[in-house]
């Protein structure tokens, strides 16, 4: 009995994984294919990208401030507070910036994508588009994927910059020399860290878009189905972000 349930769950998990990968590959293959649906792309970029500016700004600001505060407390006994800037920078650019910005965006955007596509599914709008001869992946998935692939790295850069600014404000408040705060960046950061800080949001952006689209296009069961799909998309994309963060970091460590 127990084995049968595990067996069924595993089959379902791998079937879902296979379908998710298939959808992702098909959407990626259509990125440069015509028609480009540039209007849809612009609308999605505005909704998903610009719409997330404020939460990323707040995330970056307060995370940078709290990181600086904690580092000052830890480094003060060793008279090493001049390293605060570098430590905030390395932590934010490599790890917290991409992960926190992506988690915030996953909560906001992942659920929005799923709810929008889910509603289109349950009201038969997706079926109507297919009947009208539209390639659903090209029309609904690829513009969202493109928008997120472009928006997520930009949002992460904003989060990083604002967090460094937040750290600077706290450091200045504790009497740390601003020049020392800024010069510590170059001591701690190497070019590979910038690459890591950009590759991660690129992957996370793709994951958020694809999870939202995959769960959204599989929605059924009316309003309740849409609600539960949105919740599922946020949970799934958040977990995938955290898992992928580890694996990307591990891969990059190999190249150091």
């Amino acid at each position: 009995m127990g084995i049968a349930i595990i067996d069924r769950l595993l089959i379902r998990f791998f079937a879902d994984l296979q379908n998710f990968c298939t959808l992702s590959c098909r959407a990626a293959a259509r990125i440069f294919r015509k028609p480009g649906y540039y209007r849809d792309f612009a609308i999605q970029f505005d909704k998903l990208g610009f719409g997330s500016l404020f939460i990323c700004f707040l995330t970056g600001l307060f995370t940078g401030m709290v990181m600086a505060l904690q580092f000052i407390i830890q480094l003060k006994p060793f008279a090493a507070t001049s390293y605060v800037g570098g430590m905030v920078a390395v932590t934010m650019i490599k790890e917290l910036g991409p992960v926190l910005a992506s988690l915030m965006v996953a909560g906001r955007v992942g659920s929005a994508i799923t709810a929008e596509l889910g509603t289109m599914m349950v009201t038969e709008q997706v079926d109507a588009m297919r009947v009208e001869g539209t390639d659903i992946i090209q029309r609904l998935v690829t513009p969202r994927l493109k928008a997120m692939l472009l928006a997520m790295p930009l949002l992460t850069i904003l989060t990083d910059v604002v967090s460094l600014l937040g750290g600077y404000i706290i450091a200045a408040g504790y009497g740390i020399n601003p020049t020392m705060y800024l010069s510590a960046f170059t001591q701690f950061i190497v070019p590979l860290d910038y690459l890591e800080g950009l590759v991660k949001p690129l992957v996370f952006g793709g994951l958020i878009a694809m999870t939202g689209c995959y769960v959204g296009l599989g929605t059924g069961g009316g309003a309740e189905g849409v609600g539960s799909a949105a919740k599922k998309a946020v949970v799934a994309s958040s977990i995938m972000i955290l898992m992928c963060d580890f694996f990307i970091a591990k891969i990059i460590v190999v190249f150091r």
Binding site: T123, E124, D127, A128, V131, G133
Partner: protein, 251 residues
């Protein structure tokens, strides 16, 4: 064109979902010029038939052919051209809520990209005029009443000049005037040479707009014929559907 190339055919269709059988050995022939209605109680699989013909669902066994091309087992891109000969008016209209009425009606034409914007707008206005909602051109679907949504959906179906138009419960939820309008529109479409396939349990609309009737019961086709044959039919389920009695309560 031969008769085979001017019809939609379903052969021995079986369809189930999640282990629940919806249709068993279902056959259907929709010849051009012969308007048909599929009748049956709610949940008998009527809408499923439309979706199977359109390739939106894949049958477990059996085949569907459109104008001589068997679409079962083909990829969507391979029969997209054949499917363009069919348009559907979904039960709730299924209008794209992020687009205006005009954009909804001209959707297929914009997608095809063969016509200039001005030409598309002319066609859109003509179709909206035909269904009597031209003033709603710039409104969004959320600003329309149920009856208007259905009429806009009909205009969208007409925009691409299809041979067949499917109607999924077109009169559900409408007042008598709305029902009359939809019936009238269907009759005008038929007079223009369009073939209609309707799914409904509204007998008055069915008899006013169709020549052939298919009755579904317990996942199977139990009757296929004209109105006269249906009224004279001795099959208990069909008789009960036409004239429900006290015995029909909570059955």
């Amino acid at each position: 064109m031969t008769t085979e190339e001017r019809c939609i055919r379903m052969d021995k269709i079986c369809y189930s979902v999640g282990g629940r059988t919806i249709l068993t050995d279902f056959d259907l022939l929709l010849e051009q010029g012969v308007n048909r209605t599929i009748l049956g109680v709610s949940g008998s699989g009527k809408t499923t038939i439309l979706k199977l013909i359109l390739g939106l669902l894949e049958p477990d066994s059996g085949s569907v052919s459109i104008n001589g091309l068997t679409i079962t087992g083909l990829k969507e891109a391979q029969y997209r051209e054949q499917r363009k000969k069919i348009a559907i008016v979904f039960q709730g209209g299924a209008l794209f809520d992020s687009m205006t009425v005009g954009e909804n009606v001209g959707y297929r034409l914009f997608e095809e990209g063969r016509l200039a914007e001005r030409e598309i707008e002319e066609i859109v206005r003509e179709k909206l005029r035909f269904v009597g909602v031209e003033p709603a051109l710039d409104l969004y679907p959320s600003e329309l009443s149920g009856g208007m949504k259905k009429r806009v959906a009909i205009a969208r179906a007409l925009a691409a000049d299809p041979d067949y138009i499917f109607f999924d419960e077109p009169t559900t939820g409408l007042d008598p005037i709305g029902v009359y309008n939809i019936c009238n529109l269907m009759q005008r479409l038929q007079a223009d040479g369009k073939t209609t396939l309707m799914v409904t349990h509204d007998l008055a609309t069915a008899f006013a707009t169709s020549q052939k009737f298919t009755f579904l019961h317990q996942k199977r086709l139990v009757f296929d014929g004209s109105e006269t044959e249906m009224r004279a039919c001795s099959i208990p389920e069909v008789r009960e559907f036409l004239l429900p009695t006290e015995q029909s309560l909570f059955v």
